[in-house]
Amino acid sequence: MILLRKMGRDLLGHKAQFLSLFLISLLAVGFYTGITAEYRGMELSGRDFFEETNLATLWVFGEDFTEDELEAVAALEDVEQVERLLLYETQARLPDAPALTVRYREGDEINRLLVWEGAAFVPDDERIWLDLRFAEARGLTVGDSLSFTVAGTSVDAQIAGLVYSPELVYPELGDSLSPDYGAHGHVFTGIGNLPQPDAAALAEAAATLSATTATQGDATQAAGTEGAALGSRGFQPPFNQLVVYAPAAIEHQYSLEEDVEGVLGSRAATILVQENHPTASTLWAECEQHAIFANAFPVLFMFIAVLVMLSTMSRLVSKQATLIGTMKALGVQRGAIAAHYVGYGFLIMLAGGLLGAALGPPFVPELFKPSITRFFTLPYWQTYREPFFFILPFVIALAGALVSWLSSRRILAQAPAEAMRPRAPREARHSPLEALPFWKRLSPSLQLTERDMRRNKLRSVMSVVSSMGVSALLLVAFLSWSIMDEMVSWQYSTINNFASRATLAEDGDAGELRRLTERYEALPLMEQAIEIRLPASPASKVTGTLQAFESTGPEGGEAAGNGSEAGEAENEALLRVTDPERRIRSLEDDQVLMSYGVARNLGLGVGERFEWHRYGEGGWHEATVDAINRNPLVWGLTMTPDTLEGFGIDFEPTALLSARMIAADEAGVQSVVSAEEISAGMDLMLEAMVMMASVMIAVAVLISIFTLYNLSTLTFSEMERELATLKVVGFKRRQIVMLLFAQNLILSVLGFIPGIPLGWKIADLMFNAQGGTLDMATLLIPSDVLLTLAVVWGLCAVVALLFIRKVARLDMVGSLKAPE
């Protein structure tokens, strides 16, 4: 009990050091548990939702799927259920004519709808169910009517319910890259409600639908092409999608895909496995990215905390060596004394950790919720807690205890008389630096700093290592910000050089396209969803986008193909292509450019062969990687219209790019977005990451201040007598503070040097593991390196300022008389 009182008083006596350890522990555990609670909560909510609604294991796109085909797939091993659907793309009769995907369903066993409001989904009901976010954005509710046209037949259906669909967790981002829930609705209804139109109307609809626009990762695109079947039967619904539910095959989705291909052959135009469906892949990618933040940084924080604890305890124990000897001489058990000193580290780290575990999970997830819920639609956001959150503080406390024990074991092992004997001051030694010609020109204060650092190696090493951790942490945080900025600038200044982008209406004709192109001096662009695979291992398939547009490079120009400086034509181009070094290059005929991300994903280099096809296309095209194209948003292939036609595919533009603003009401134009809107959408998309970076910067700065303050306190305490002497002989307060500042500055630079590659490596790991299809080049941006150095030095200055009062209050008499 008495020792506990002593501990309490010692803690108060060294409150600055112990408070900073408490706070570092709090921040580390709070950050880890908070981010873990956030991403695991999101992961859990997603898994539960997918499980509750039987998210399909495979989506098969094709034409006129028959009952026999359904049964053949259903008979495959591991397959529990198969359902057929007809997806139909149309527009709602609402202001701005939003796009509408109507899903005519046979049942509701796979990709079940979770009703938020209204009646449960019944396939036989003549009413429709509407996705909740579209309904909210459009102010629609249960009982309202929604009108649209299906193959020439006008439909006016009553809304029976507002629903969450497991296929719609992640929205189509459209041209603006930001979710606009009011721009695209999803209707769910029974297949019995499919109008039975006359043959002529169906044939016309088929022609329109076949010119569908495919966008990256959008699995519904193949739907439109199947409209052709509508007109040719008595009336058999032309199902264009099979959804397969095989939870037992979730670990081997690709082998199930092969089985389905084996059964359906070329009837399966495209098969999408669950892990590639955007509804799942983007959610898991987001979780994965947050997991890296949650796991990497607290380890760094704890590492710093342990180092600070080691130096603090070493200092405390060596100051109390006489006391330890006295206690031993008085008969106090060595174990009791050891437990007493081990208790400091244990209690401080435990207290900070427990508070962090209590505060992190409820508060940190709330920071991310606004940006996450803007992109992800889940019916519930679960709060995740696990016992480890409260075990972790004990683990950390044990680490603190171990460090305390390591710091005290040498003195504890000594005989009482030896422990009580005053320590001779540590010897100073000449350093090799003194042989350097500039040494003598250094001021004595700098010489003093250099020798003091060498004399107190433990403290110096702790400072250097802490500074390394702090520098790495700050650099990652700054890089997170600026890499995102760089990406936006790369995309919207270097690659995109247009003022507006018009998505062409599906029913537009060649005459309108020509007129628009001439009128706006526009660049026609074709984009379509594709799959790419390696010939040797067909299972290693990636989904992506085909991008085709007219080459703007000089004919046989110098810039061609070699990634050298771009010609004038490229600089004036509305859409540019950049090489892996992000320099503008030309796009030549007969060249297939593969995006950097896909090439890396498939392990392909220039000159290597691969296969690709469009969604909805049966066979595969063979091609060679002629060059690598780096683009943050393009994940797939880029080529000229001529090259595309060389593969036997017609160049059918889906968008127009212009340096002028294209009028949205032009005939043949479905929608128009400005470059600014696209850029703003991108900013929104990166909001969660910006938030993460901001939280990290805040935590990094706080930890840096605590760490530097702590180490400076140790320096001050160890140099107290020397500082008092300097004060007595007439050194000004500013000179003494500058001495401390200089030491911190030097040590922080020594830590900063290895901290930069460390931070860069962590950032690269983070951005490369971010999943998804964004290619974020992890550049070591000099301004961020300088900013990191400035912040580290700035913090040294702040800490030095905090010491001004301490120096003013330095008791000259007390400090100098202490040895007596």
Partner: protein
């Protein structure tokens, strides 16, 4: 000239009030070799600390020449210590990470017109130890470095708190001889606080302190050489 006028240093209040120095008055001439004598806890170190501007008096005036240091603020006191005072401590208080030469050169940072460090160290007999660290020197040698550091500033006042307290008698004599010579040759007022009464024989002025009061101030018209003192 140094003059203490009714100087007090009081700690605490009410019943806890302790007078480390109470109503102390004395006067000594510039260039004197002054010895302050008294038992432990008498108030001698307090007197020295007040005189050196290391501590604030509760009442009274301390005049060094025409300057009343009790009226100075912290900045002015720092300048006073830098310009006018040299300190020598019982445990030397050298900077352990600076060499002998650097410890003395350090004074150039507080007073530009310092004497050349090597020259001063030569004067105190340490010309051959310039590159050594304090821990490589004996106690007497360290105290010489401390003296060299103090006199390099050419102070008006050299304040010595038990300068021989940690030294053997022979070494102590050498150090005191050095201090006496400094007072004689540089016309520096040297004030030595000690409880070794024998030193009084070599002093120009002896101030005896007891229980915070100045018991007596005596002037020796013909002080003996320090080497003649019977230890």
């Amino acid at each position: 000239m140094i003059r203490f006028e009714k100087v007090s240093k009081i700690y605490g209040q009410g019943e806890a009030r302790t007078a480390a120095l109470d109503d102390a008055s004395f006067e000594v001439e510039s260039g004197s070799f002054v010895v302050v004598l008294g038992p432990s806890g008498a108030g001698k170190s307090t007197l020295l600390n007040l005189l050196g501007g290391m501590d604030d008096a509760t009442a009274g005036a301390i005049l060094v020449g025409s300057l009343d240091i009790c009226t100075l603020n912290e900045k002015q006191l720092t300048r006073f210590r830098a310009e006018s005072v040299g300190f020598i401590f019982q445990f030397y208080n050298l900077i352990p990470t600076l060499t002998v030469l650097e410890n003395v050169e350090l004074m150039r940072m507080v007073k530009r017109s310092c004497l050349p460090a090597a020259e001063v160290l030569d004067q105190v007999g340490l010309g051959g130890h310039l590159g050594k660290f304090p821990s490589q020197l004996s106690g007497g040698e360290q105290q010489r470095v401390s003296i060299a550091r103090a006199i390099a500033k050419r102070p008006e006042l050299l304040l010595c708190d038990e300068p021989t307290g940690a030294l053997d008698s022979d070494t102590g004599v050498h150090i005191l001889k050095l201090l006496q010579d400094i007072a004689r040759t540089h016309k520096t007022t040297v004030v030595i606080v000690t409880h070794n009464a024998a030193i009084a024989e070599a002093a120009d002025v002896v101030i005896r302190v007891r229980d915070g009061h100045i018991e007596s101030t005596t002037r020796e018209p013909a002080p003996c050489d320090i080497t003649e003192v019977r230890w």
